[in-house]
Amino acid sequence: MKRIVSKGDAPYYYLKVLLEFEDKTMTVDVLTFRTVIMKAMMSMYGEIGAAVPIDILKYDVETMSAILRVAGSNMVKLWGALTMLSYYDEKPCAFRVEQVSPFLMALAASSRQLLLHTKE
């Protein structure tokens, strides 16, 4: 049984993520946001997972969306932990991973978020 893990050839991966609470009125600041990510990594990958360097390049409090930067070898761990998260502080919540790319520029535009001007 040989396990093959693709470490990718990119040094960093950039993830555009969005935190969503069941209670829509709730907002968290950037430090709490980082704690949520750390708790998610902690519960799935323990203290070694929680020690993975994850940078928040940009955080928007209004939408609770952020651009994360993580080393390519840890990208799968982070993505997995974010997906598995279901509660923070006993409040149901979820992460939506919107875009993942090895290039930050790729997150500059997303065709999914285009607002097409249609005639009314």
Binding site: M1, R3, M42, S43, M44, Y45, G46, E47, I48, G49
Partner: protein
């Protein structure tokens, strides 16, 4: 045919005081290793180690334990074992103890062979720790008995006992 390959980690239990013998069971060591893996690697670690990990051998007097794991997970196990600092004593408390990895083998038999060799080497160090003459002579005798291959009946030893 596919075969599950295992690795056996042979470790020495190091207590604060060498002369104390604690009542350490396989279950206690298993729980300690499992707990430390859960602490370090979380649910992922538990998932890796639930199939395949077990404590195969324990000797309270020579303080040796043998932990088995899947071959793929050896690195994780070997790196987690040094983080064990305490073992539960069965009375709700804990005593300080760590595991010193001595050998990693591919089969129980290979580990046992190595262990016999190791115990022979360790015996003389026990001699240095003896305090009284009587203890020393008993220790010399037991070293002699275990290291010399007797080809014919050893009359001198028989006369002694």
């Amino acid at each position: 045919m596919v075969r599950f390959k295992h690795r056996y980690v042979l470790a020495e239990l190091v207590f604060g005081n060498d002369l104390l013998v604690y009542n350490v069971t396989q279950r206690v060591v298993y729980a300690a290793v499992r707990d430390i893996i859960e602490q370090l690697h979380g649910g992922y670690g538990i998932g890796l180690f639930t199939p395949g990990m077990s404590v195969k051998y324990i000797n309270e007097y020579t303080r040796m334990v043998m932990v088995r794991c899947r071959r793929e997970n050896l690195k994780i196990l070997a790196s987690a074992i040094p983080f064990i600092k305490h073992l539960p004593d069965g009375k709700g408390g804990q005593f300080p103890c760590f595991l010193r990895t001595l050998h990693v083998g591919g089969s129980i038999k290979a580990c046992q062979k190595w262990l016999v060799q190791h115990n022979r080497q360790v015996l003389p160090t026990l001699l240095l720790r003896c305090t009284s003459e009587e203890e020393k002579s008993r220790m010399r005798k037991s070293i002699f008995d275990s290291t010399i291959v007797k080809e014919e009946p050893w009359t001198e030893g028989k006369n002694d006992t």
